[in-house]
Point group: C2
Chain length 308, copies 2
């Protein structure tokens, strides 16, 4: 039985891709079961509840040599601990290829599109398998989530076409209204502890010899987040020290106005924001303008900066 999972600190694409790919593999004669590597965020919980789908089980470890399929990630720092001792048989992803290696020839499918869901739709079409209605709803939700309802610069024509193809199968007549409900659920942060807010959509990247943590909070209500700035900065300092990071930033992305105001942990991060992005930091917040995509607008720039 192949274990299928998305990245740590899962988002909607990571969770739904695991569910849909496990189902697709099983339908194609390769038994597979979906797992998650962390708690559901508010948006994903909303999506699963609306779809009537049970959350995949939490996975914390697997025995050496266990067969796994990775979705929506490929770097070991974003995956299950001990990944290098597991047997990776399948990967479906839309990120840059990182430090993944496989011990045997595997099935790898990476397309440069806005979300894993778009790749998964293609796999159904290529295999001449209909997308089941529940899977269509999960995939559509992931497209809307990862592309911020087509606002993100990571959006490709293929993602728009995927959403248009999936919506009628999913039975969602008003896609815009559904996206707004998803984003409202995501922005309902309530009394979530600051350390949880930091980790909701959080990934660690190796840059040149350095290790940086990059968090993102996508919200329709940035004012709420900045109201908790002191708490968040404390959580960031604690995490940076505990994880032995060289840098840690937390981007607060205003989904509707498409802006990015990024909390920086300290002076060294502020200097990198200035040098890499030409962004000024005031009161602990760097103005990154309309760079709302970590994958397309933050990571490549930092990678380039640190490799010089």
């Amino acid at each position: 039985m192949i274990a299928v999972f998305g990245h740590l600190n899962p988002d909607t694409d990571a969770i739904t891709a695991a569910l849909v790919y496990a189902n697709l593999l099983s339908r194609q004669g390769t038994p597979a079961v979906a797992y998650r590597l962390g708690e559901l965020n508010f948006e994903t919980a909303f999506v699963l509840r609306e779809a009537g789908v049970t959350s995949p089980e939490l996975l914390s470890s697997l025995p050496d040599g266990h067969q796994v399929a990775l979705v929506d990630h490929n770097e070991s720092a974003q995956s299950l601990g001990g990944l290098k001792k597991l047997s990776v048989t399948h990967v479906v992803d839309h990120h840059r290829l990182g430090d993944l290696e496989t011990s045997h020839p595997a099935t790898l499918r990476f397309d440069p599109v806005g979300c894993t869901a778009t790749v998964l739709l293609r796999l159904h079409l290529e295999a001449n398998l209909p997308v089941e209605p529940t899977d269509a709803r999960l995939l559509l939700s992931a497209v809307l989530s990862d592309t911020l309802h087509f606002r993100s610069p990571t959006t490709t024509p293929a993602d728009r076409e995927a959403a248009a193809f999936l919506a009628p199968i999913a039975g969602i007549a008003d896609v815009t209204a559904y996206a707004m409900l998803m984003f409202a659920a995501k922005s309902d942060l309530g009394d979530t502890p600051a350390s949880t807010l930091l980790k909701m959509d959080y990934k660690v990247f190796p840059f040149g010899g350095q290790k940086w943590g990059l968090g993102v909070i996508e919200t329709t209500n940035p004012g709420y987040v900045f109201g908790r700035q002191t708490e968040l900065l404390n959580a960031m300092r604690t995490e940076k020290s505990a994880a032995g990071l060289d840098g840690l930033i937390l981007s607060v992305v205003d989904i509707l106005n498409e802006t990015n105001h990024t909390l920086v942990t300290g002076e060294s991060e502020a200097e990198v924001m200035q040098a890499a992005f030409g962004a000024t930091t005031q009161g602990g917040v760097a103005d990154l303008g309309n760079r709302i995509s970590r994958k397309k607008q933050i990571v490549p720039t930092l990678e380039n900066y640190f490799s010089q």
Copy 2:
């Protein structure tokens, strides 16, 4: 213009995959041109001559940042020098994933099948593009070459199906007879220098801190090769020292009888043959039985042995 190329010391799959994938990308609106990273072997020269296809041009370097598509390989040790400074936009392969990384999301397609040609056929079918007759002949030749006419344990049902699908398009009525002609061309080694014989199908692999060179000569006439054993051992010693390798072996695979007698450069290689494969070495030749696939039966065992 994307530069498309297979591995160093190209074989038939590497050369034909570059030609066919460059054509496919171009037909899909992404201009691409095929190159080769080394001299054609006798089999590949026969295949191109019979197909009326001009050899791709030799490529020795590209400027930093140039866009490239890799076929039939992904590890930097088997690719163009300075690969890590190039922009890898596409990979089509059937080997294990090695040390490849990409700076941006790319199109990656790896399937665990017997040759790259089988994956390329799938890409045509998925895109609803007919395979052009010349491309069908090139792809069929690659399937026959990489699977040793379906004798190699790397052969999958998909490779047999690909060959059956391609033969009528290629206009090849007797596939077995064509395969025998290919193998005769490959075995016609004439007065080729020993250093060239060694490098005809040769790859360098990192095995847990060590660097090993693994050569293969697939032939219908092993007696000819062993008649030149002294010359070959001298060439192997020279290469091992010049390339700073920890080990170097040259497998002589009898295609028709499906046996592997492997020349070892020295005592240390003989000890590894014994420890990893339980194979005895006599007179500089280790008997590896019916292990005729480097990819499936030699590399994984050595990798496992050196990682302990």
